[in-house]
């Protein structure tokens, strides 16, 4: 059985994973059709929002203020670190996430960006989705005992 933390972590990693997949799909469609489709605009806007969360996480140790949002940003930052293992210096990490955000901004404003730039963002979100997938798998692999098999409880025969 999963603990409550694990169950909610699984929901979180699955929903974030489906979201990251959606970003990859939207970017693939933009590359295929040569232009951002109106249906994909909300996804791209959300993707930019996620990158802002990552940046908040990168900067958290400078402010050290806890709140509900900081907990989300901390998770987003951690996932982004796993998605970009080759960047080891905080300032470079910050710059790269900012750069990805700018590409999304251009996409939103102009409906397009260079093939190379779109591919860069697509690769990041694929890696981000993979980091989240690892979280889902970790939770599922921990819950190995049988479920739905009633061998541990004595049936309550007295109650109608």
């Amino acid at each position: 059985m999963l603990s409550e933390t694990e169950f909610s972590e699984l929901s979180d990693s699955l929903s974030t994973g489906f979201f990251a997949d959606k970003v990859v799909m939207s970017l693939a469609r933009t590359q295929r059709l040569g232009r951002l489709q109106d249906n994909d605009r909300p996804t791209i806007k959300e993707a930019k929002h996620l990158l802002e969360h990552v940046l908040d996480g990168v900067e958290w140790l400078d402010k050290k203020k806890l709140d509900a949002k900081s907990a989300e940003s901390a998770v987003a930052f951690d996932r982004a670190v796993h998605a970009l293992p080759s960047i080891r210096v905080p300032s470079k990490f910050h710059d790269y996430i900012t750069h990805l955000g700018q590409i999304l901004q251009t996409l939103q404003e102009k409906g397009n960006a260079s093939e190379e730039e779109i591919q860069e963002v697509r690769s990041f979100f694929f890696s981000y989705a993979r980091a989240v997938s690892i979280e889902s798998q970790r939770v599922i692999e921990r819950s190995s005992e049988p479920q739905g098999v009633m061998i541990w409880a004595q049936p309550n025969q007295e109650t109608p």
């Binding site: 929901s11 996480g57 694929f126 739905g148 309550n156």
Partner: protein, 459 residues
């Protein structure tokens, strides 16, 4: 299988999960449940399953999906497969919440408490046994909604649907199930958005934190290696950011749920917590998702010690029991074994008054259950319980008056904690036999109390 493309083969395999899931749900409709909700929930699960099935079939013909690289498509399909692990957990909970396997007496009173007193009109509960010696909580409606919203599937799960697991082998130990009030607290914590109110009040020592990060990342003297040679500076920052945020989020939530548990059930929650938690975790264990017991009992005793009217009616054995655990709890301030727990835990200790105040507001406009205000009622109920008469009502002016559900539990604990020696001697019972029979009396009292309340409402 026979599909030409590997990705179609992946889709076919997940479709098999869907079909197997549908088969699994079918017989569950015919079981007997403690409320009318589980069959409705089964239908919602079934609708979700249908929607996923349609989605998967559509992917096969989706030109954008087919244009993805193999690893991108694979990752997406795998996620559907992992989603079924979660749906299996949900179905297995329904499977185990049927009448023979749940503490059926508690389901309606707990629903009533949350729907009427706490004003969570959509509150639903699945109470199920666990194969481990622990209690658990899932915010099932909320968690499933999060995933299906991302998939734009329009099945509406009640957001206030929670599941509470209890130790299956100890199903008949009704008094210890007072722990469940903590689990109800989780639902109120989210519904009342207490995280937004409380987390910002936690202020870890900034200088200590800076020193800690610096120490981990700094250059080592010649010839020695530092952690940063193995882990990048980005990872060190990410580690501290996530750990402190994670621990603060979990510990504040758990402590607030303790405070809500106390507000809902009164001292019965503290009694159950002492009985259960002290043998589940070492008293100063700070390596867990929950704060150490010492922190939890410091908070609960702070709440108990305001109940002077209640403390004055306690039998010497009960008073002595409470005093002994108060003494252990207050023997020293909490100390932590790792620097992240120390930074976070020390900061949380400073916001106990805010936690109690938030919990008090969270339980609704009727306010918390007060053992002091109900002290006279409790004294009468204790007399009934000592005579093995279910303590579900008071006889006044020749008529029967049902008492608060929480008073039944508190009166039960007040007798239970005297050691039940008088009952053992009177009926020549062994200690465990006596405890078991006494728990049965309290279970009957809870059941009768609920029947009386319903009867009155119908009248």
């Amino acid at each position: 299988m026979g599909s030409a493309q590997p990705r179609d083969s992946l889709i076919e395999s997940v479709i098999d999960h869907c079909l197997a899931f549908a088969d699994h749900l079918e017989p569950l409709y015919f079981r007997q449940y403690a409320s009318e909700f589980p069959p409705k929930f089964l239908r919602q699960l079934s609708d979700l399953n249908e929607a996923i099935l349609e989605r998967l079939k559509a992917l096969k013909a989706d030109i954008d999906f087919q244009s993805l690289k193999h690893e991108e498509a694979e990752q997406h399909i795998l996620r559907y497969s992992w989603l079924y692990s979660q749906l299996y957990v949900a179905a297995s909970i329904v499977e185990r919440s049927d009448v023979p396997h749940t503490v059926v007496e508690l389901v309606q009173p707990l629903k009533r408490l949350m729907q009427l007193q706490c004003k969570l009109k959509e509150f639903e509960l699945l109470l199920h046994p666990l194969p481990v010696l622990n209690y658990s909580f899932y915010y099932l409606g909320n968690d499933l909604s999060k995933v299906k919203d991302q998939l734009s599937i329009s099945v509406a799960f009640p957001k206030q649907l929670i599941t509470v697991g209890f130790p299956g082998l100890e199903m008949r130990r009704l008094l210890v199930h007072s722990i469940i009030s903590h689990e109800l607290g989780h639902c109120l914590y989210v519904e009342r958005k207490l995280e937004n109110k409380l987390l910002k009040l936690v202020k870890p020592d900034k200088q200590k934190l800076d020193a800690l990060v610096k120490k981990w990342a700094e250059t080592a003297p010649a010839g020695q290696r530092t952690l940063s040679e193995y882990i990048s500076e980005v990872e060190i920052r990410s580690f501290f950011t996530r750990q402190i945020n994670y621990l603060a989020k979990l510990w504040v939530k758990e402590l607030t749920c303790d405070a809500i548990g106390y507000c809902l059930f009164g001292p019965a929650y503290l009694f159950a917590a002492i009985d259960f938690l002290t043998v589940a975790y070492a008293f100063d264990d700070d390596l867990h998702t929950h704060p150490p017991n010492r922190m939890r009992f410091l908070l609960l005793y702070k709440m108990l010690d305001k109940e002077t009217g209640f403390l004055n009616i306690l039998a010497p054995q009960v008073k002595s029991f409470l005093d002994s655990w108060r003494s252990v709890t207050q023997s020293r301030t909490p100390q932590f074994t790792n620097p992240v727990s120390d930074l976070t835990g020390s900061a949380i200790l400073n916001i106990y008054d805010h936690i109690i105040s938030a919990a008090t507001e969270a339980v609704g406009s009727d306010g918390p259950y007060s053992a002091s205000e109900n002290a006279t009622e409790l004294q009468h109920l204790v007399k009934r319980a000592e005579a093995l008469i279910p303590p579900n009502e008071l006889i006044k002016n020749g008529g029967s008056h049902e008492v608060k559900f929480q008073s039944v539990l508190n009166a039960g604990w007040l007798v239970y904690l005297t050691g039940l020696e008088a009952l053992q001697a009177k009926y020549n019972w062994e200690s465990w036999e006596c405890k078991t029979k006494f728990n049965e009396i309290i279970a009957r009292a809870v059941e009768l109390n609920e029947i009386q309340r319903r009867w009155r409402e119908i009248q």
